[in-house]
Amino acid sequence: MSSSTAALPDGPRRISRETLVKWAPLLVLVVLVLLFPLFEWLEDFRDGKDHIYLLDSRFLSIRNFARIAISASPALMVAIGVTFIILMGSIDLSMEGTVSVCAVMFALMFIGMGGTLASWAFLAIPGALVVGAVMGFINGLVHVKLKIPSFMASLAMGFVGTGFALLLTGGDRIRVEDEAFRSLLTVRWFNFPVMCYVALLGLLVAWFIQSRTTLGRNFYAVGGGEELAKASGLNVNRVRIMGFTLAGVFFAMGALLAVGRIGIAETATGNGFMFVSITAVVVGGTALWGGIGGVWNTLIGVLIVNVINNGMVVIGLPNWVQDGTLGLLVIAAVVLSTDRRSVSFVK
C-alpha cells in the first residue's frame, strides 16, 4: 500500500487508489447516511415545515439506527458465514435452506424440551448450531468429494434444506413465545436490543477466526491462489469442508436471531437471505474471486443494504422504484469498492 504512495512525485500527499478502494464501502455507507436525511429535509422544505438538516432527521436517530440494526443482525450472521466461503473463491447458496432447517429444528427442540430458556430447552441453541454445522459439513462433502462446483452443490443443498424444513413443519409455523428468548428483541441495552449485541459478538468471533487462526489464514491462501496453497502442502479439501461447516454455524446463528426477531420459525424463515447476504458481501468489498476482503467489509455491506432498504421507505420512495434503485446502488457500490484493475478476466 505504501509503495504506490511513495512512488508519487513530491507534492501534496495523494490518497492512493488502493486506500480509496479499501475505504470505499465505508464511504458509501457514510454518504448514504447523509443522503437520506437530505431527501427528508427536501420533503419537509417543500411542505414548508421547520427542519434543520441532520438534527431533525427521523432517519438519523438512535431509534431508527436500532431498527436498522435489528433488521441487519440476522443478515449479518448469514453474510459472515458466506464471507468465509467467498474468501476461498467458492460460493455458498445454501443459506435459505440451512436457515429454515436450523430455525425449525431450533423451535422444535426448544418447544420439545420445555419451551423456556430457564429449562433444559436452552440446549436447543447449541443444538441449532450443531444442525447448521452438520448441514454445512454435508454441503462441503458434496462439493469436495463429489467434485460438484460449490455453486451447484450449495444451491442443491439449499433446496434439500427447504424441502426438509417443509417436511418437519408440514407447512405450519411454530411460534416461540418464551419471554426470556424473545428478550433478544424486547430487552434493550443503551437503546439497542440484545440481539444486536449477540450479532456483534458473532462478528468479533468471526474476526478472531479470520485473523488469528490458521483456518482463517488458510481461507485467504486458498482464495488467493489455490494451486500455490496446494503446492505448499495445504490440504485444500479439508479447508474447504471446514469452511462450509463454519458457514453453516453462522447460518444457524442467523436463524436463531431471525426467530428471535419475529418469534416464528417456518419454512419461509430463510426466504430472502440469499439476496441480502451475497449482495452485502459483494457491496462490502469482498471480491467474488476470493482472497480479498473479510468480515468487517461484510459488516459495512450488510449495513449499506439495510440502510438503503430502510431509507427508501423512510423517504417514501414508491415501491416500484425501490427494487430498481437497490439494484443500481449495488452496481455502483461494487464499482466503487472493488479494485477490478488487477483482475484479468471476469467470469
Binding site: 431498527r67 409455523r173 421507505v313 423517504i315
Partner: protein, 369 residues
Amino acid sequence: MSFIKKFIEQETISRRNFLLASAYGVSGAAAMRMFGPSPAMAASYSDPTVAWSYRNRTNPYWNEIVSGGEAFVESLGKDKSFLTHLINEGSSEKSLADVKALLAKTNGELALAIDTNDAPNARPVVESCVEAGAYVSTLWNKTDDLHPWDFGDNYVSHMSWSDEGPAEQTARILLDAIGGKGGVVHLGGIASNNPAIERLNGLKNALKDYPDVELLDAQPADWDTQKANQVMSGFITRYGDEISGVHCANDTIAYGVLEALRAEGMDIPIVSYDGNPQAVGLVAEGKILATVFTNPHWGGGITAALAYYAATGHFKPSEEPNEHREFNGPSIFVTPADAAEFKANYLDNVPTYDWKDFWGPSNGPIVYK
C-alpha cells in the same frame, strides 16, 4: 472384455424393444381414440383419478386448501394418498405440462381441481381437459371471458373470492377503533396479485367515509412476515406516532407488523385477513382486531368434489344455473367477541363437511366489473 460386449448387446436389444413398445403405444392410443367415445360427448367414469394442482404446500393457505382435498377423498372411503398432487411451484408452464401428462396417463378419466397459477393459463388447461374428456374445476385464477357454461359439462365450476367487500369491513372496524381520525398505513401483498389489489381497494373504499383519517402510506410486503417486519419499522421511522392503525393484507403480514410494534413498545390497533389459526388466536387475545376467514379447507375440498361428482355423473353441470358454476367462496368475520367460538367450531375440530352440499357455504355469484 466379453462381458462389456454382452452388456452393450443387451442394452441395444432393450433399447430396440423400448422403441418398438413406445411406437406401438402412440399408435395404439391413437387407434383407441379413433374408435373410442367421442371426447366432446361427456362420459361419466366410475372411478376417476382425483387430482389437485397448486403452487406448493409451504404456504399455510395452500396447505389448508390441499388438506380439504384430502378430507374429500377420505370421505370417499379412500386413503389420503388417493389424491394426486400436481405441484407447479409457481410456474404456469409446469402447471399445464403436468395436467397434460396426467390426462395422457389417465386417458381422460380424471377429476381435476386446479389453480392455474395465473389467469391466462386457465384457458389452455380447461381446453386440454375438455378435449380429453376429463372434468375440471378451477379456483382463483381465470380470465373474465372464460366461463364454465361455454364448455358443456367438462368445465364444471370456478370458485373465487371477492376480497374487496370484506377488506372494506375490516377497515371500518379499524377506523372505528381509532376513533375515526388519525393516520393509517397499509401493508399489502405482492403488488400485482389480485387479492392484494382488492384488499387495498377495500381500505380505500372505507376511507371515503372517514374524512379525518389519512392513508399515510401503502407498501407491498409480498405476503411475507420478515418483509412486513422491515417495512413496518420503516413506517415507524417515517411516521412515528402519526400512525394510529395498521391495515394488513393478510395474517402473515400481520405477524411481522405485530413484532415490529412490539420491538418499539407500541400498541395500536391492527386488522388482518385470511383467518389462519394463529391469527385467530391473536384475535382472541385482542392483539388483532379482526380477520376474515375464507375457509380454504372447504374451498379445496369442494372444488375437488365438484369435479369428482360431475365425473361420476352424480350431477350434470350443464343443468345447473350459472351461479352454481361460477361463485364466490365464503368470507367469515372473526372479531375478539366471537374468536373463541369460531376457533372451537372451525379450527380446533375441523368440521366434517358434506361434500355433496356444493353451494351451501358459498357466497353468491361472481360479479364482473
